[in-house]
């Protein structure tokens, strides 16, 4: 038999074995198989493989399957009915390894907090310079009489905006 003919027919052999080939295509393949020993053997191999697989599964499934039960006995499976959040948490933890996710979330939180902590103080725009003092902290609040208070905000001279001091 011409090997090129077999190459053409071969993709359809599986469908022929499954009785999923129809019309003219089926007639062509059946006609070829009738005269081709190689393709007949291929069909027989497909049949044997399928039979062995079915037999293996059949024997395998004769085992005790009482472990598959309801409600599930799996430790990780919550008992139904599930709320929306229970289902979401269960799905996430069942199919996604939680530790990398938790580590990523922790890193993100640390990054946000870190950025917030190290951000520079806002520049004192539209502020009035009263006087310059030495102090430990950046801000001093001095209560005054009548509910008034004086706030002294310290900042580096380099960051000082171009404002003209207003005399008191």
């Amino acid at each position: 038999m011409n090997p090129r003919a077999c190459e053409t027919i071969e993709p359809a052999l599986s469908a022929l074995a499954d009785r999923e080939l129809f019309g003219a295509e089926r007639e062509t393949v059946v006609g070829h198989v009738a005269v081709c020993e190689t393709c007949r053997r291929t069909l027989e191999d497909y049949r044997l493989v399928g039979a062995a697989l079915r037999e293996g599964i059949q024997i395998g499934s004769e085992r005790d399957l009482s472990a598959i039960t309801w409600p599930p006995r799996l430790a990780h499976a919550p008992s139904p009915p599930l709320t929306r959040w229970q289902r979401l948490i269960y799905d996430v933890t069942r199919w996604v390894d939680p530790w990398p996710v938790l580590a990523g979330a922790a890193a993100l939180i640390a990054l946000v907090v870190g950025v917030w902590l190290v951000q520079p103080a806002p520049s004192p725009v539209n502020m009035v310079e009263i006087e310059r003092v030495d102090a430990e902290g950046p801000v001093m609040v001095i209560p005054g009489s009548g509910g008034k208070m004086t706030i002294i905000w310290l900042f580096d001279a380099d960051d000082q905006p171009d404002v003209t001091p207003t005399p008191i």
Binding site: S14, V49, R54, G56, G60, A67, W70, A77, P80
Partner: protein, 203 residues
């Protein structure tokens, strides 16, 4: 009401009666559905995974998912058809994840072909019945190893065809692909198994 375990003699109430009860929150009714369909569902899982314990776990997982999605089941298809699709997708998810995790040894892990777990019951050993002999055992091992080389999608198509006996159209609906794709996957899967198992049949 008498229950049965999938595929047995007819029972008094059809699936849709139990489904309706389960949809109203009757957990025992869903338990009846589990008892009826677990063997069939397990067969699909075992065929796709090749490992008893993994197949048990994922079958149980599929029932959990089915219960969670029961409100969306409208009865347009049979419950068994709907469940089969869930089982197949759960197994495909697992295999794809395993494949992604260890590209060169994914199915060995899934099937337990080479591990040392003495309690793992494999598809290979299922062919080792008392009267089957050494040849059958070797064939079982070879089938597992050969299935190991298929893609998850090829494996699913083969199991749905050989174990479930579905038509190409039904397989296409289950796997959400075209009929031509099913034909192609089955062709390549069988060709691959034929090449890898040839020596066992030529003895």
């Amino acid at each position: 009401m008498r229950s049965r375990e999938d595929g047995g003699e007819p029972t008094e109430a059809p699936d849709d009666v139990w489904v309706a009860k389960a949809q109203k929150g009757d957990s025992n009714a869903f338990g009846e559905l589990v008892t009826r369909h677990r063997r069939r569902a397990y067969q699909v899982a075992l065929g796709m995974l090749g490992h008893h314990d993994t197949a048990l776990d994922l079958t149980q997982e599929a029932f959990v998912r089915a219960y969670q999605s029961l409100a969306h089941f409208r009865g347009e298809a049979k419950f068994s058809t709907w469940l089969r699709r869930i089982v197949t997708n759960v197994c495909l998810d697992y295999l794809r994840k395993a494949e992604h995790r260890t590209p060169t040894a994914s199915y060995d892990e899934a099937l337990g072909v080479d591990d040392d777990d003495p309690d793992g019951v494999r598809l290979a050993s299922t062919l080792e019945s008392p009267d089957s002999g050494v040849w059958r055992k070797e064939l079982g091992t070879a089938i597992v190893a050969a299935m190991n080389t298929l893609t998850p999608e090829q494996r699913a198509a083969l199991v749905l065809r050989e174990i479930e006996g579905l038509s190409y159209e039904e397989i296409a609906k289950t796997l959400d692909c075209a009929t031509g794709t099913v034909m192609s996957r089955l062709h390549y899967a069988r060709k691959r198994l034929q090449v890898l198992l040839r020596e066992h049949y030529e003895r």
